[in-house]
């Protein structure tokens, strides 16, 4: 049986752990707030962008733009995998990696070469361990503060690679932030750009939109200009979502850890009290026994 002192040390250790998990929980909570602010900051831009792009696509018709053309033979794929740099966030990274594995499994077999663009250390380590080619890696982005230029930079490289024929398809895997309690790993195709649906709107709003606008240059040229930007927007939103999800996941994981610590402290305290009581009882027995012996 554990001695009194052992139990006491153990309780102390668990309490220290609890302090750490609690602090991490609070840090994650404040970072989550920051990430959510960036997300709300991005929404007006994204909304307007999608609206304009949708109506331009409808009007200009999707011509033979290379970014929209689906290639007949797909032999090279690039996967943009967004994960976090750090662990201690529950199943967050493993869920994303599982998703990547399932995509890889789905695509391999028919002579397809898969390469990766990694955001985040965890995904990078995984790709490296499995001997995938890593075209580009960006560490210290997800979970921190980053600007739109990061996604422009990454997007340009992907588009260049796509146009040069280094890849025939590009997918992005990221974690969609549904709520603080729910984050879902998602696969999205970004190149060739999937057919753009006009944004869902009431007939009324649609009528007064772009069709009567004067466009400079022509709608088709505008569309050409906007398509690469659409890739950047997609990547940026994927990064924002992943960052927000990471903090939310870490917050939940740390909350659970703190709760587990509390449970452990409770049960250990119980054990400690029992042990103390037992030693008091045995001490008393000794004293009583000794007194009896003296009486003779």
């Amino acid at each position: 049986m554990a001695t009194l002192k052992d139990v006491k040390t153990k309780i102390g250790a668990v309490k220290k752990t609890k302090q750490i998990t609690k602090a991490m929980n609070m840090v994650a909570a404040s970072k989550l707030r920051g990430a959510q602010t960036s997300m709300t900051g991005f929404r007006p831009y994204a909304g307007k962008f999608a609206e304009v792009l949708g109506s331009l696509a409808e009007r200009g018709g999707s011509g033979p733009t290379p970014l929209l053309t689906v290639r007949e033979k797909i032999s090279k794929i690039n996967i943009v995998l967004c994960t976090s740099d750090r662990g201690l966030c529950g199943g967050f990274n493993s869920n994303l990696i599982l998703k990547a594995e399932s995509l890889v499994k789905e695509k391999t077999g028919s002579d397809i070469k898969i390469s990766f663009t990694n955001f985040g250390k965890k995904g990078r380590d995984w790709s490296r361990k499995n001997n995938f080619e890593i075209v580009n890696e960006y560490l210290g982005v997800v979970g921190g503060r980053f600007g739109f230029n990061i996604s422009v930079n990454a997007g340009q490289k992907l588009i260049d690679g796509f146009l040069k024929g280094e890849y025939d398809e590009v997918y992005v895997i990221y974690s969609e932030f549904k709520s603080t309690a729910k984050q879902i790993p998602v696969i999205k195709q970004i190149l060739p750009i999937p057919p753009i649906e006009a944004s869902e709107k009431t007939e009324d709003a649609k009528k007064q939109y772009l069709p009567e606008h004067i466009c400079e240059p022509t709608p088709a040229e505008l569309l050409d200009d906007m398509l690469p930007k659409n890739v950047y927007v997609q990547i940026y939103s994927a990064l924002l979502e992943t960052s927000t999800s990471e903090h939310a996941a870490r917050m939940a994981a740390m909350n659970n850890a703190t709760k587990a610590c509390n449970d452990m402290i409770d049960s250990l305290t119980l054990a400690y009290n029992k042990a103390r009581q037992a030693s008091i009882t045995s001490d008393l027995m000794d004293i009583v026994g000794g007194a009896e012996a003296l009486k003779g």
Partner: protein
């Protein structure tokens, strides 16, 4: 005065400008254009340059804009740009450093007319406009 229009400049990171203006001038890719209230619906790409507008007090305001798109409607102008800064928010030191970098890069690239050249040129434009705009601050 016929009235004011609303000008909004949004970037992916935040909304840079959102206020009422008397007139807005923006650098369209096919030429600079001005917008007053009641403008016909109009959509255009923008060059790297400077948006000027007069606020309700008639004071001129300047905003650096890194390309993007502008939409004019009868009652408002919306600008979508990858980045944009009000004159007072420009980081002059950083812009100057970027200008130097861009010049060096351009000196190296000038031989070939490829994508790197175009990007270096854009970087140069951005830095030039930022520096130019920031330097008018204290006059």
């Amino acid at each position: 005065m016929a009235g004011n229009i609303k000008i909004e400049v949004v970037t992916p990171e935040k909304s840079v400008v959102s206020e009422e203006a008397q007139i807005v001038m923006a650098p369209g890719s096919l030429g600079e254009f001005g917008v007053l209230i009641g403008h016909t619906p109009f959509f255009t790409t923008l060059k790297i340059g400077i948006i000027r507008y007069k606020d309700i007090k008639g004071e001129e305001r300047l905003v650096f804009v890194n390309g993007g798109f502008a939409e004019a409607l009868p009652d408002r102008v919306t600008v979508l740009a990858e980045s944009a800064e009000r004159r007072r928010d420009i980081d002059l030191e950083r812009a100057k450093a970027a200008l130097k970098r861009a010049q060096e890069r351009l000196a190296k690239e000038s031989a070939e007319k490829d994508i790197d050249f175009i990007r270096a040129k854009a970087a140069l434009d951005r830095a030039l406009y930022r520096v130019k705009l920031a330097e008018t601050r204290h006059r």
